[in-house]
Amino acid sequence: MRRPVRFSSGVVLVAGLLALWEVSARLDWMQTPNWPPLSQVLAALARDILSGELPELAGGTLLRMAAGLAAGGTAGVMVGLLFATLPLTARLFGPTVELIRPIPIPAVVPPLVLFLGLDDAMKVTVVALTAFFPVLTNTMQGIAAVEAETLAMGRTFGIGPLRRALRITLPAALPYILAGLRVSLALALVVAVVAEMIAGEQGLGHYLVMMQFAGRAPEIYAAVVALALLGYALNRGFLALERRAIHWWFALGRQAEG
């Protein structure tokens, strides 16, 4: 008896979609040269990796993304901690934060160019702004979820407010903070590339626009594939780090399935 096909791994679906890509392009279903076969895309990808161009550009994009993520993430945790421990600050600054949060970042790139120029300062700021909000929200949520008994015990032992915040609240909220960071990580790569597409000759975003203008479809999709792989690798890497950082939490078995 044949075993039923296992789709749960997801790999089968990915392979199927890639095969569909190749076939649809080879048979010209879209009736356009701007939908090149996957094999041509992979050839372009290999060519530009071996020439050193793509690795250099991707490195620049990743560095800007990492800098923005670090800045935005740190700010998110600090502001979240402040809002949660000093309710007055939340009342003061909360409305401002809530007004800024829904602004689509690409809409504010032109004014940011005025203040910060076209290079790293602007792009890192754009990423930091994007990374800030998911971390802030999750930090506040995480702090709200710290069990009251834990804090009460801290007080009973005479631990001061600052030490309590740093040694009890923050570690207890860490799983939430890391979940926020993971959301920010995915957004950060997207926004870094968008910022590069708007101005300046930097990174994968600029490469994408150049290749669009040059009408080189395989290179465009090579950059897209590279970005998909980078995003996937970043997420997997982050998950591995998260497992190590909060193994105690996973040991409690509280996390959702998957």
Binding site: Q31, T32, E56, V209, F213, A214, G215
Partner: protein, 321 residues
Amino acid sequence: MAPVSRRLALSLAALPLAAPPLLGQTLTRMRVSVIPVLDVAPLHAAIREGYFAAEGLEIDTSTTTGGATGLPGLVARQFRVTFSNAVSIMLGIREGLDFRFVSGATRGTETPPDIFAVLVKKGSDIRSGKDLEGKRIASNTRNNIVWLRGMAWVEKTGGDWRRVTTVEVPFPQMADALAGGQIDAAIFSEPFVAGALATHGDRLERIGWPISETTPGGTNAQYVAMKEDLDANAELFDRFARALHRGVDWVNARLTDPALLELIAGFSRVPVERLRQVALPAYPKGVTPAELDALLTTMTHFGLGGRYPATASLIHRTAAV
């Protein structure tokens, strides 16, 4: 986060070879906003041939697509010089921005082939501006030189431009939009004309040359800087224009030479074989009041009128050649 771009690193590395007398002398860095199109070939020629380095300048190009960040970036002092199309520049001047022409860049040629072309789907029955009334025509941006020449062509061929709907479609997506029937016609600029005919030649055809049919040799694009900067650093811009104009000479001496196409392929990344099919513009050094006056007349006719300063006052001495 490389503070030293690769281009800068390469040009610095090549410097001792290119210009031995400049060893030890620091170059003045100028950032120029460009678009990755044929028009900026002289600038890239001047960079590659070391003409800027010989003037003590190091040019850092910043590529933007369309004028979206070029002119605002100039106002914000992010760039010293911006390459842009004549209509966008004049509209900025109308709004009170102190742009001054530093150099000419491109004009249409007197006779076809133009750098612009109107393309339609094969077998669509659209042959003129008259046929386009009530239909959709694509321009990369509204209210720029491409749109203006396209509307002039619509009128010249018997159509009422107010009855033609303009849709903004980026150049790289025009051929697909046209072949897919989302638009009825499109005003293409080179190298996208050649690109579209190479890749979609079996489904698209050209029905008009918007520049040579309406304004043979008409103005197209220029380099501008801010008046304040020009007043304060006139000597710097003299050096800039001298080097750029040597680049213009280099290009004009090679209009039929494969070396020019290789240069363009290098900075635009358009494959050389496609560039062989591309129509080139004329590359002037200067800007004349006459060409700007003619442009303003056309702009006024197509709803872009207003109070403009005397055009002669907008031309910096480096462009008065």
